[in-house]
Structure formats: C-alpha cells, structure tokens
C-alpha cells in the first residue's frame, strides 16, 4: 500500500511554528515520512488585529481589542514555555511582519538545496535568527545570507522572488486556504487537516496506518516523546 504523503504548512513569523519545527522534522528523519513544506503566510491583521511596539517595550500603534490582546499574550506565554524547554530564545516581534518573502525563500531552498540536511539547516537558522530579532524577513539580502550559511545556492533568487516564486507562493495561499488550512503549523495527510503540534502523535498514527486507538492530543514536552508510544497519558 502506498504511504500517505505528508504536507506541512508553516510561517516563520509564527511562534507556534517555531517551537514545533524541530519536532516536525523528526517525522521525516526518524520515521521516514518525507515532508513537503508549504509556506502559509498568515494575515494576522485579519484575525488578531495589528500592533507595533518599540524595542524597549510599549505599544506605539494598535487596533487590537482587549480580547485580542488576551489571546496574543496567552499565545506568547505558552510558546515561550516550550521554547525555553527546548533551549530556544523567543523574543516577541516588534511589528507584524510580512513573511511572504521568507515563504518564497522556503520554496526556493526546497527546490535548490543539495540535501534535506541543508534545507533543515536553512529553516532552523531562519527561525533562530528571526526569533532573536536578528533577521529582517522582508529583506532579500538577509534571507540570502541564511541560504549561504546553509550552503544553498542563492544565484537567481532575486528574480525568482519577483516572478516565478511569488506566483507560486500567491497561488499556494489560495490553494491551501481552499483546502481548509487557516493556521500553522498545519499537517495535511490525504484529505485530513490537523492544526497544531498537539496533533503530532495523531499525524504519525495516521501516517503509520492508524493502528490501535487514536492518540489523544498532547504538546510534546521532553525529547523522545513521539517515540514513547504512550499516547493515552
């Protein structure tokens, strides 16, 4: 029987995608389910409003409601718990970034990296620098520097970003939204969509043929949790 394919949608500006990234890779490196990565560029203004902060703290401009602020604060508090546990630094962004160029860079690297390890290194480094507030996601030069760091050829990226890559990215947004993908990380297995890393056990269970009881949702906490087979908790 043919193995189901695994498509994973991420956005580099999502704290949830950041803390899920390394765990998701394990589905490929440890379980052999090759991942097709899709950039989903979230339009955050459409569901959480907008806000700009100054570096020292303090909001300079916003149209967010108190309810939206509560959700945003809870999301960052939650993502930080998991980032710290993985030894990652997560500094809240000072504005809502347009991450479409970074998404196009992901498409480029996925096509041009000489190995999956190079793709992984690119993604890891981009996430790391962005959440350290050390990468301008809207600057092609910053993205090309990370490609160079990951030993990915970036010759031709500028044209790709303006033409073919942009076209592919924009088309993908339509396709993914029409399929039902609205947030990140999302996992597409056949016609099913799983939103959030708490479903990693279930995604793996589905990919491995849905044997035994369906796992319960849980956020991976310690390393090796995907392997413990303890889905019931």
């Amino acid at each position: 029987m043919q193995q189901p394919t695994l498509e994973v949608c991420i956005d580099f500006k999502s704290p949830y995608a950041f803390v899920a990234h390394q765990l998701i890779w394990r589905l490929e490196t440890q379980y052999g389910h090759r991942i097709r990565w899709h950039p989903l560029t979230l339009n955050i203004a459409s569901f959480l409003g907008t806000a700009t902060k100054r570096a020292g703290g303090g909001v300079t401009e916003t149209n967010r409601s108190p309810r939206q602020w509560s959700v945003v604060k809870a999301a960052y508090q939650d993502a930080r718990r998991y980032a710290e546990n993985q030894g990652l630094v997560l500094k809240g962004p000072l504005k809502i970034w347009d991450s479409s160029l970074a998404g196009i860079a992901l498409l480029w690297v996925q096509e041009n990296a000489s190995s999956r390890a190079h793709l992984r290194q690119f993604m890891t480094e981009l996430f790391r620098r962005f959440w350290l507030r050390d990468c301008d996601l809207e600057d092609p030069a910053a993205l090309k520097a990370i490609m160079a760091f990951a030993l990915v050829d970036c010759e031709g990226f500028d044209d790709y970003a303006l033409e073919q890559g942009k076209e592919r990215h924009d088309h993908l947004q339509e396709v993914l939204l029409n399929k039902g993908v609205f947030g990140v990380p999302s996992f597409i297995v056949g016609k099913e969509i799983f939103f959030g890393r708490e479903h990693l056990d279930t995604v793996l269970w589905r990919l491995e043929g849905s044997k035994g009881p369906i796992p319960n949702p849980r956020y991976p906490w310690h390393t090796g949790m995907l392997d413990d087979g303890d889905h019931g908790l």
Partner: protein
C-alpha cells in the same frame, strides 16, 4: 462563594457540551490517577473566542479573505470533532436539553471543592451520552446528578435562576484569572489552554516534589 483555587491543586475547566471537553475529562481522569494529583472539575461556560469578530471591517478583498479563513477553520474544527468522537468511542453525542446541561454543570459546582473521583464522574457522564434512548438517558442522568449533588455539603436543591447565576459567577472568576476557553487546566496560577499540556504539567509537579 468560597475560594475556588488552591495551590498544588489542579483544576480542569470544562464545557461538557463540547466534545473536546469530554475528551479532556477522560484524559485528565486517567492522568490524575497515574500521577496521584487531586484535580477538581469546574464548569467554564463561555462562547468560544472569535478574535476575527473584533477586527475592523476592511476592503472587499480583506473581508473575502476573512470569510474564507473562517470557513477553513470550521472545516478543520469539524474534522477534529470527528477525531474527538473517535477518541471517546462514539459516533455522535446524543443531545441533552439546555436544562439538563444546566443541571449537570451546576452539579459539577457542588462537588468542585471535594475533587470528585474523576473516573467515576466520567463513567457516569459517559453513560448519559451513550444512552440508547430517552428513557435510558433519563435514568443515567438521574444517577449522575445524584452522584454530583450527594457529595455536596450542605446539600442544596437545584434552582434554575440561581444555577445560571452561580455558573456565570464561576466563569467570571476564572476569566479574571486568565482562563479564555474550555477545556483549560489551571495549576498554581498558570493557565494551560487545551488538554495537551499534561506532559508539561507533570514535569512542573515533579519539580514541586510530588511523587509520580
């Protein structure tokens, strides 16, 4: 009202009309036995948060995107609900009347202070949801409500208006503590949205020195 929060005591906030909360109750009841931690279940009846509803109206394209995103979200929620039903071994949850749900949630409040035996609670509630017909459901509901209210001290009688008031008051108290939605877990001043945080919470408890 008495204090509803103790340190080193875990609270599970639920809206049992939502299948996700039922799954949470099932999972947490197994976990509480395993880690030997007292857990109280309390109702948290608030509509699901829709932050998109607070976004000011924008261009036609922006509004079209918002609508498409909302449709996508509903689709994924429906899929997740089916998986939750599968987790419970059900194909559908029989509908109870609003009054019956009110009685159940109010009943939960009566045992909230005593950390009801979660697996017994889940079993009795599950019997209501699994009942084949109205008569069986009525019997199961009677058993559940007797279980909930018999533990209360002093014993109290159900009054609809008071039940609504009590449930609103409890939800407001939890909201003031940062709870946004059900199911959520609360431990020592920290809110954990969803049921998936049990591995983290176990770790926190182990660090507090509680035996596994």
């Amino acid at each position: 009202m008495t204090a509803i929060m103790d340190f080193n005591h875990c609270y599970l906030l639920v809206d049992l009309q939502d299948v996700e909360s039922m799954v949470a109750l099932k999972v947490v009841s197994g976990w509480a036995q395993r880690v030997a931690v007292p857990v109280s279940v309390q109702p948290f009846l608030k509509p699901k948060i829709n932050t998109a509803g607070d976004v000011p109206k924008g261009s036609d394209a922006f509004e079209a995107y918002k609508n498409k995103r909302a449709a996508a979200r509903n689709l994924v929620r429906a899929q997740e609900r089916l998986r939750d039903l599968q987790r419970l071994g059900l194909t559908e949850v029989d509908r109870l009347s609003p009054l019956q749900w009110l009685q159940i949630h109010w009943g939960l409040l009566q045992v909230a202070e005593q950390s009801a035996n979660l697996s017994m609670l889940f079993d009795k509630l599950f019997a209501v949801l699994r009942a084949a017909d109205g008569r069986q459901r009525g019997d199961a509901l009677e058993i559940l409500l007797a279980f909930l209210v018999s533990d209360s001290e002093p014993s109290v009688a159900f009054e609809m208006d008071k039940a609504h008031r009590d449930l609103r008051s409890v939800a407001s108290a939890w909201q003031a503590k940062g709870v946004l939605s059900a199911p959520s877990l609360w431990l020592n001043g920290e809110v954990f949205m969803g049921v998936g945080h049990l591995p983290l919470i176990t770790d926190r408890l182990l660090k507090l020195g509680l035996d596994k």
